[in-house]
Symmetry: C2
Subunit: 455 residues, 2 copies
């Protein structure tokens, strides 16, 4: 399979677990992924699924898309009821539109989070240019945040730009992008995140681009007071706040969006994405009507060929219906799993320095247990060893993220069962114990500590 892939696929398109053995996924169901070799099928528990949130192979969603594709799949220039109904349902879940005089949420349906964030940035710039007479368009973004793969999204994605190495990031990053430092709570947490925005901010109309539920940063969820203060400063100077909820929407953290879970101020623009169509390409850019005005007045039609076509709307409606049903899981199984992970933190304080997150969006930060030969505190190699053990011996798939690749990010489908949670925590306990034993008995980790690529 690999040579056939490599023939026409650029090497910059990563393969998960390339360092051990990549998975050939031919079927999947609920929280399980089935990987095939010519002679065996192995079932893996999937703790890293932030797209098929309503479960792999969800038949209700597959059927809804099928029925719609058989009927018709016209674009947004024709009228069809699911286009309106999906927006109505999203707006109702976002709340707060009817009682504050700013008009209803206006929603642009697109194919992907990158497209939604791109148009969100265009809308913000139009607002700053025409309403605030700005000539420059400072965008505040956060260290380790990621907003998508398009040119404009990369320009506000320090997570990606830091990887340019010796290459010139100015090709992507315009001079008016200001990066605000936002550390993870451990192992190093100074300076206090509460002062980082103030340090970076120059009062003038500008855009705050904030990834709610920062995922690749390693499950970073600042407190409500932090966002309240930053958004209030931005607004009092005539700027606006964009929340990127592409990863964190659709009950991932408990409420429909992370900003609702965390009690952050309601944004001017919010983008939704990955889980919105359970894998069918669908995303939404939701804008308060008063902020959209300048963009409307520019005179450019916004047409997106597939965005909001009938099949995409059918996928979105079926997904929301499934996720409404699964929503309690985010609280109940999420709380159960968080409790189990905290038990592991208590049991293995040498290895785990923090367990954090909300709902089904959890992070476990690993420490270096091999010191003092390697003076860095992060458990990058430890997590790599543990993730490889989890995959190869326990058949559990996990995600490695964070600035130093030392945070296990857990975002299973919302159909994750209490049994799945207990099994996962048990396997994690075993893998950590094995890792510690290897270090204590042999002074080093086994050959599996070669780095599981599980971005």
């Amino acid at each position: 399979m690999l040579p056939s892939r490599q023939k026409h696929t650029p090497s910059c398109q990563s393969i998960s677990y390339i360092n051990t053995s990549p998975l050939t996924v031919l079927s999947a169901s609920k929280s399980y992924i089935h990987s095939y070799t010519p002679s065996t099928v192995t079932v893996y528990l999937d703790t890293r699924n932030n797209v098929s949130s309503a479960g792999h192979g969800n038949p209700a969603i597959a059927d809804a898309v099928h029925q719609q594709m058989l009927l018709q799949n016209s674009n947004s220039r024709y009228l069809h009821s699911s286009f309106n109904e999906l927006k109505e349902q999203i707006a109702a879940r976002l709340g707060g539109a009817d009682d504050d005089g700013r008009g209803p949420w206006k929603i642009i349906l697109t194919n992907a989070g990158s497209e939604s964030n791109d148009v969100a940035l265009r809308i913000a710039r139009a607002h700053l240019q025409h309403k605030r007479s700005c000539k420059t368009f400072t965008t505040y973004t956060y260290s380790m945040s990621y907003h998508g793969h398009s040119t404009s999204c990369l320009s506000v994605s320090p997570y990606k730009l830091r990887k340019l190495g010796h290459h010139d990031s100015s090709l992507y990053c315009p001079p008016d992008t200001q990066v605000v430092w936002l550390p993870t709570p451990c192992p190093s947490s100074t300076p206090s995140p509460s002062t980082a925005f103030d340090a970076a901010y120059t009062p003038s109309p500008s855009t705050l681009m904030f990834e709610c539920g920062m995922s690749v940063a390693g499950v970073v969820l600042p407190p409500a007071s932090y966002l309240s203060s930053a958004v209030s400063k931005i607004r009092s100077d005539g700027g606006l706040a964009i929340y990127d909820e592409v990863q964190s929407c659709c009950y991932r953290t408990g409420e429909f969006t992370c900003f609702q879970t965390m009690g952050y101020p309601s944004p001017d623009i919010v983008t939704l994405g990955k889980p919105l169509g359970n894998g069918f390409p669908l995303s939404a850019c939701c804008v308060r009507a008063d902020v959209l005005e300048s963009f409307e007045n520019e005179g450019l039609e916004y047409f997106n060929t597939f965005g909001g076509n009938a099949a995409a709307c059918a996928a979105g409606l079926a997904t929301l219906s499934e996720l409404d049903r699964l929503r309690p899981v985010s609280d109940t199984t999420g709380a159960l799993l968080l409790g189990l992970l905290r038990d592991l933190h208590n049991k293995h304080p040498r290895m785990i320095c923090d367990v954090r997150g909300r709902g089904m969006f959890l992070g476990v930060e690993f420490l270096n247990v091999r010191a003092p030969s390697d003076p860095s505190p992060e458990g990058t190699l430890e997590l790599s060893f543990v993730a490889s053990r989890l995959k190869d011996f326990h058949h559990v798939l996990t995600t490695i993220d964070g600035a130093k690749d030392s945070v296990m990010v857990i975002k299973p489908p919302l159909c994750f069962s209490p049994q799945d949670a207990a099994y996962f925590a048990d396997c994690l306990d075993k893998a950590i114990t094995e890792c510690l034993r290897d270090v204590d008995e042999n002074g080093a980790m086994g050959v599996l500590g070669c780095g599981a690529t599980s971005t």
Copy 2:
């Protein structure tokens, strides 16, 4: 339906035929769109379908997507065979990769043409920056060309930027975008297009961004000699050529791509889009391996959440299989339709100044028959009248495009039958005759000449 749409949909998202009566499309089949009112269903012949090229409601494609969504819909970080197979099939159809020492086509699957053009521009810039040590990145684009709705695509889309009116286009258009003038053959065709590129070009490594089969420009297909000359100049100075075949791919003009139909030189990068998944969001950016090198070396992973997921690949494979079957239609029904339209040109030389195009991508350019009160030669109002008559009296949907909205662009699904072609030509004849009679008898066109928005 309209008030419910307007509640959450920005007004910059156009509705077709908003000036007469928009269509509520609840079903569609092959070349026909069914529009519903509370009491009636009207069947319209669709001559404007550049997405569901294998026909509306195509069951083979709907079934393939359904089966795949039931099985699994994993992303490109896992291995699955249809991901490789789709690329193999695209590469085989693009040809020319094995015999010129440049290595195979490398293909990035995305959700939409805008995403493919965005990454194409990133790849070109990386090549110019790292291979050619460029500090500036001049991109030559054509008047009236359109490459997508994202920020970077708009920067090379004069078709859109001209509509910014009094607003500042510098927000979108960087100073190193150079617009090459490319006129339609009539009614005004000076200066000769063959000299336009030379006039705009400054020798230095740069990118030629060329929309093959320019659609919104009004079916503009320059001769092979023009492209050969431009591409050869670009290449001899170390630059490269991107062809945007998002509209024109998949046998629209006869061969798989328009550059193959027209005999243009094979490009360094070519993007495919709209018809590739028959409405399922799917697009491809295809790059010669030698040109991709610098992009690969930048060190940024390219990951697209939905791009090339299993359902998208299933849609692509099923669509290619259906279109292979329909391919002869592009030649046979296309030739039949072109002949019928030329007959109309001969019959109505006052109204039609040109009939052009290849395969199932045809254009009819209209003249002003109301002169001398309106001195402009373009038949903008005439075409608006004709398109409205076609829709409301003959139930035929058409597209209005071109710099002055005076070109009827005809791009029906490839399942368009000879009977469909004959019916359409007959109705067009009637509508033109009605328009001429109105002008001759009343000195003006009837109330229907109020502008059918049929972009």
